[in-house]
């Protein structure tokens, strides 16, 4: 093969490869939204579903009960609910959030 023919075939092969690579890249940029989000940095982090809860505790016997958090709850608040063992008013001892598996 002459030098000219080699250079010609080499250039054509490289050109076709580069063109094909550009087409594939363009396809991903246009149709693959998650890839686009990664490149632009606008991907939203996935947060697991969390449950907010309050723990009610009896100050006398230590009985504990977990219930859903209500607006207005705070740690140290005397709740309307009473202890099933001694009738004392339960106090909120913790407010936190957890994933369902916890």
């Amino acid at each position: 093969m002459s030098f000219d023919a080699f250079v010609m075939s080499y250039s054509v092969a490289v050109s076709i490869t580069v063109f094909a690579a550009l087409v594939i890249l363009l396809y991903y940029l246009v149709f693959n939204k998650s890839l686009m989000a990664k490149i632009t940095g606008s991907a939203q982090p996935q947060h697991p579903q969390l449950i907010e809860f309050a723990v009610l505790k009896c100050p006398q016997c230590g009985f504990e009960k977990k219930r859903a958090f209500n607006i207005g709850d705070y740690v140290g608040k005397i709740d309307a609910e009473k202890c099933p063992h001694d009738g004392s008013q339960l106090v909120i001892s913790a407010i936190a959030k957890e994933t369902p598996k916890e």
Binding site: S2, S15, A37, Y74, G76, A94, A96, E102
Partner: protein
């Protein structure tokens, strides 16, 4: 390669030595004259896309935060049967978000900490006062919680403005290196924005955040281990000072006054106890949430020496000054968590860590003090959702 192909198609593919040299020269020009600039230009475009995406996301976060704030205002007002002019509140909120605190001059350092503390107090009072004026029917804890939400929105707004400034400046002058620096900072900024954006919900709902671990440790210790609880009311604004007996030691407990979202004036409380009523504690122990490194586990309890306290440093300086004047050992208990965990509703992991911190506190008191000693324990942090 296209240039080369074109060159050859136009008859440049001859075998003479001159043409061979022209071909090589052309390759040289393409590789060293065009590719480096093309690469830089493509990088510039990529960085611009990344920062633009970040700014759009941040803008949406701020808009969402404002909606959350207005939603909470309407909800609270609806309880009293009163209404609120949403546009007026929105305008006032925008004004508060643009509020600027001007740093005191540091060309003369004399009294700098005093001036900083004065500015911080003034800023808190102004913000709280304006929120109260916006919603006169709110009780104090709710005003404090809403003030915290406004403060978060103000921080987000500030980040947006600064990033936007550098983005526009670098785009204007096509400054590759300025954009490079801004892109390097993006992971840290994203961390901060994620932490702040999630905290608006927690503040509006009045839930304890991770930073409340210090005050919650004080609450749990006081209610589970102590006898003969008593408190010194209204000595220092927004600050709770309590005392109790634990294992024949007299324990003084200091924390911000809950359940509203405030950090209190802990340095004033320490100053009152040591200078005004001449308390002589054997130990001063501070308990605070501390930022963990990526490899560290959330909820790890670490012992420390010194004052565990974040923020601008004015209160820390005052406590260090007062305590060191009396030669009292300063011990610290640190509860490790990420920035996002510190500013968002407390996770169960941190709640469990608070129980471990109470155990560590008992151990430190038992080990390093004797019967009859006095101990001062300070729970550092925002006490939102935690009473005393």
């Amino acid at each position: 390669m296209y240039i080369l192909a074109a060159f050859q198609l136009l008859g440049g593919g001859g075998s003479s030595t001159t043409e061979y040299w022209i071909f090589n020269l052309l390759l040289f020009v393409v590789y060293f004259g065009i590719f480096p600039f093309l690469y830089e230009y493509l990088q510039l475009m990529r960085f611009q896309m990344q920062i633009n995406g970040f700014l759009q996301q941040l803008s949406a976060t701020i808009t969402n935060g404002i909606s959350q704030f207005l939603g909470a205002v309407n909800q609270v007002m609806a309880k009293d049967g009163s209404t609120v002019d949403s546009d007026k509140v929105k305008n006032e909120l925008r004004n508060l978000m643009d509020l600027v605190v001007i740093d005191p001059t540091n060309i003369e350092t004399e009294g700098l900490v005093r001036k900083l503390k004065y500015l911080i107090n003034m800023y808190s009072d102004r913000l709280e006062g304006d929120v109260k004026r916006m919603m006169p029917n709110l009780d104090k804890p709710m005003v404090q919680n809403m003030t915290n939400a406004v403060e978060v929105l103000r921080n987000l707004n500030y980040i947006y403005k600064v990033v936007d400034h550098y983005y526009k400046l670098s785009s204007k002058y096509k400054s590759y290196y300025l954009l490079y620096q801004l892109t390097f900072m993006l992971p840290f900024l994203k961390e901060a924005v994620n932490a702040l954006s999630g905290s608006i919900t927690s503040f509006v709902k009045g839930q304890p955040i991770g930073d409340a671990a210090g005050p919650l440790t004080i609450y749990r210790f006081m209610n589970s281990s102590c006898q003969g609880k008593a408190s010194m009311d209204s000595v220092v604004p927004d600050t709770y000072i309590g005392q109790c007996i634990y294992n024949q030691r007299k324990i003084y407990l200091v924390k911000a006054q809950g359940p509203g979202g405030t950090v209190g004036h802990l340095d004033d409380a320490v100053n009152y106890l040591l200078e005004t009523i001449n308390l002589k504690p054997r130990l001063v122990i501070t308990i605070d949430a501390a930022l963990k490194l990526e490899g560290e586990k959330t909820g790890t309890i670490t012992d420390g020496l010194g004052v565990a306290m974040g923020g601008i440093g004015a209160e820390k300086f005052n406590i260090e000054t007062t305590v060191s004047r009396h030669n009292i050992p300063l011990y610290a208990i640190l509860i490790k968590m990420s920035e996002a965990e510190a500013l968002n509703t407390m996770t169960k992991q941190i709640d469990d860590a608070v129980n471990s911190a109470v155990d560590r506190l008992r151990k430190i008191i038992d080990t390093y003090t004797s019967s009859g000693d006095e101990v001062l324990v300070i729970g550092v942090g925002n006490t939102i959702g935690v009473a005393q």
